[in-house]
Amino acid sequence: MALDDPHARPTEPPGADGPRTGPAAGIPPFPGDEVLPCGRLLSRVWEQALDAAPATDPHTVSCPHCREAVEGLATLNAAARALRAEAPVGLHALADRVMNIVSAEVRLGRLLPLADPVRDLRISENAAAKVLRQAADTVPGATAATCRLLPEGDGTGVRVTMTLAAALDGPLPDRVHQVRRSVFHSAVQDLGLDVTAVDITVVDLLEPDPLLPPGGGPS
């Protein structure tokens, strides 16, 4: 909080308004409150600086200790206010940065073994799925919807599960077979995965491309 935030003030110590010549009389109103060399309490001087015109207290105007204390606290107060004004923005930005980083890490997905039984080589599910979806999309009349990969067995085996949207301008089993072949080929040729199976489910229909002949174009 800033130094001039409203707060409940404890009971005023005797003689706190006036100058003191020795150790502070009475108990300071705040724990740790400082008694200035001129005998005044720092908290009292600060409140006077905030609440009253300097001219109303001749001591504050003339006392170098009070003036120095007020100037120091005024600087600290300004800094505290500036930080308080910035803090919400800074915290939101920090939270956003952290969430973005964690999300990116989660998006990598599980780590899958590459087909090397000797070396310790892995690939993120996200990176592999992206390549395999592109392979499925090369088949005319088919578009990959989802692609998940799971390790299978104790070795380097990986099982692919894919969902597709497919056009009905040709037999679906043929199109699914083409996609499976393309995915297998890409998994071996582009990635180096030891794919044990590619499970494909057609979950949606595509409108046929009017520019392609029935059957899906070049085979």
Partner: protein, 125 residues
């Protein structure tokens, strides 16, 4: 030991980045979170382009004998991921062993390579 670990990370990063097909190294989560929490804008800017060794983890192998190096790398399309990863594995291992030998601290080294991303060059990999 900390000095050796730091230099091992630098050596491993340099070796990995020299492999054809590697477009960059993927900083580890802990380093990225540390960058996000950087207290000043200057620190944050420094950490947003982390040093390559931020993608390397060098730990004592289980049992305390030898080093285990983890590398997270991003690849370009056009080369088989398995081939590039094998190349990274072998070059990093060789570089680290050579570095340890130069320090007269030869120990067993194991290397683990993770491909985190495959992208065309124009994707900003």
């Amino acid at each position: 030991m900390t000095v050796i670990r730091t230099t091992l990370c630098g050596v491993a990063a340099e070796a990995a980045l020299a492999v054809p097909g590697v477009t960059g190294l993927q900083p580890r989560l802990s380093r990225r979170l540390a960058a996000a929490a950087a207290p000043t804008l200057t620190d944050a800017m420094l950490y947003h382009t982390p040093a390559p060794e931020a993608a390397i983890r060098a730990d004592r192998a289980p049992g305390g004998s030898g080093w285990h190096i983890e590398v997270r790398c991003n690849l370009a399309t056009g080369r088989r991921a398995l081939d590039v990863a094998q190349n990274v594995h072998d070059r990093v291992g060789a570089a680290v062993i050579s570095h340890l030998a130069a320090l007269d601290a030869v120990e067993r080294v194991t290397v683990e390579v993770t491909v985190t991303r495959i992208a065309a060059w124009h994707d900003g990999a």
